[in-house]
Point group: C2
Chain length 340, copies 2
DNA sequence: TATTAGCACTCATATTTAACGAGTGCTAAT
DNA sequence: ATTAGCACTCGTTAAATATGAGTGCTAATA
């Protein structure tokens, strides 16, 4: 167990290191107003903290830096649970409102805002349309051989796909196909749509099948194309300002990783958390993010579960401020009304 | 005017430097099979070439490197006009075909292909929908207060926008509005659509105006949102392998610049060229691309003018190969048929 | 018993110095 | 006109040295 003084020292080391990115020495600490002990005393406590694995030294004659365990302790015990600052949240909400009431734009704006607030790179993932369900299918002919299939989801999202027929299709066949699809498929999740259409085709009577099979398979094939969840990166440049990313060895893996949209999306979708969660250094298990910490949270927009937002910075990130800002942003998003 | 030998030497210097990224010395050159002169002779010619501004030395005791003027001379006089290699073009065409027949995906694929072929970063810009013209407007109600506006262009592209009414609108008013818009606006370029709708509203009779103004203004406001031309970056990572981008000073401006999608789009759209064009070093006028050269070309897909594709590498890029590959790709694209 | 002053020791970093060698420009010989 | 020869330049590398921040330990102090 840690003594009060050790706690004070640990906290001071981390706070200082977060600010300066430099190993912290005992003399520097003893000069702080909140540490009234001599450097020798502090050295003794530091040795203990090091034995406990909370801090470490890069080399003999350097000061100490927090270890991952140290950061973990700091985040779990020394970062107060988020207190929503009403004034600040209101201001954020205001800024979000200004931009637009379209969800896509709102999310981008939120990511940018969070990045500006913290100076870290952010990633925002929109709703995964695979999870939404079909509210309605419709068809609009363009010319003899082409038309647009419209898919409307329960969340009010609309997708369109142009389809082309092999040969001319009678209007009433089209009409009937659409009626059929609406009758039987409303409520199906978008992700399952393809499979379900296949099932419906199988169920058709022989007579019907000749008529509708072609058309339905056509729709099936276009519907099957996954619409990837919308992903937005905020403040990618911010990484260039971080002292730990001033060499190619550290910068390159990060940039290469962050640019892989697909992998990024999967990663965000795989995160199990609902509320704000902090992953420190190697905890996240991603080699390219070894020296990074991530604050993630699911967010809701207009009351509905919507997506995931993440903040990525060096392990030496300002956890207190980061958690605070993340809380403010998701609260502001929660309060924001969408029109639809 | 250059003597034959000087020409030979200039070419050798540039070829060598392009490959090694190291200043080329007279002794190295004299050992080449195609240069039979002594190093002293070569030195004399090098001095002349330097006087003419075609090559320069980083410092006294280094070899020579090409100057921008040298590269320009090389590109203009020493890079043979592209000869389409039928076999190779066929192979590229094949690979393009495989991926998809959708233009969006084809363009991505082309950018990736070109990047893999050359090991440089590529940018492909899709068609600018602002230039296409309206072929048809349609409307599909979703519920009492919402509906989807469909916009079809002459090129067969479809866009949709969800609109929301302040209050319930009678179906026949909607129908009539759409008829009106179709009657009067078909053929208008998408970019002008917003202005043109405004003009039409102004022309309405007082009686009509009450009915349609709201609806038309609603459509106007949603139509006004610019759909940016689709932009695709291929092989962004490639830059990390270039020796001239191994320091943050050079890498950072490049990456920051390339990540600004909007600026990039404008830049590509502003390029006046139709056929393959090479811009060397500072010629492009972009500070962040001081040390880069760019090979750009407009391309056609399925015979129609479509967009612009660019290849960005260090000034010391393999112009011959780059121009060659660019030629192959745009030829392959030209031959690729789209279904629509 | 807990704290602090004092001091020898460690080790990354910065500075200096010297050696190296690739490449040049010039001159004189071919 | 070409080439061999040679003194000279200057960036790069390596070794030698100095600097100083910070530590751990011991002994003195409250």
């Amino acid at each position: 167990m840690l003594t009060d003084r050790q706690l004070l020292i640990l906290r001071a080391i981390i706070d200082d290191y977060i600010q300066t990115a430099q190993p912290v020495g005992s003399r520097t600490l003893s000069k702080r107003d909140d540490l009234t002990f001599s450097s020798a005393t502090i050295r003794n406590d530091m040795a203990d903290l090091e034995d406990m694995g909370l801090i470490e030294k890069p080399h003999t004659s350097a000061g100490r830096i927090p270890s991952e365990i140290g950061y973990r302790y700091y985040v779990d015990h020394l970062v107060e649970k988020q207190i929503i600052d009403e004034r600040e949240t209101g201001r954020l909400e205001e800024r979000l409102k200004q931009s637009s009431k379209e969800s896509e734009i709102l999310i981008r704006q939120a990511a940018d805002l969070l990045s500006d607030l913290t100076n870290y790179t952010t990633v925002a993932l929109g709703p995964n349309s695979q999870m939404e369900t079909l509210a309605r299918v419709d068809f609009m002919p363009l010319d003899e051989r082409r038309g647009v299939v419209l898919i409307v989801t329960d969340q009010g999202h609309v997708e369109h796909r142009t389809v082309m027929f092999e040969s001319r299709v009678a209007p009433d066949v089209i009409e009937e196909t659409i009626r059929l699809l609406n009758d039987r498929l409303v409520g199906t999740s978008i992700g399952q749509l393809k499979v379900r259409i296949g099932e419906e085709v199988a169920k058709l009577q022989l007579a019907q099948r000749q008529q509708y099979e072609n058309m339905m398979q056509l729709i099936q094939s276009t519907v099957g194309i996954q619409t990837p969840s919308s992903l937005y990166l905020g403040g990618k440049k911010k990484i260039f300002n971080q002292p730990e990313f001033q060499t190619l060895d550290t910068l390159r893996p990060f940039l290469e990783w962050i640019d892989e949209q697909e992998r990024l999306t999967h990663w965000l979708e795989s995160l199990p958390n609902r509320e704000i969660y902090v992953s420190i250094g190697s905890e996240n298990g991603i080699v390219a993010l070894q020296n990074c910490s991530v604050i993630t949270s699911d967010y809701t927009l207009d009351g509905k579960t919507f997506g995931t937002i993440a903040m990525i910075g060096p392990t030496r990130m300002d956890y207190r401020h980061g958690v605070q800002m993340m809380g403010q942003i998701i609260e502001a998003l929660r309060r924001t009304k969408l029109d639809k």
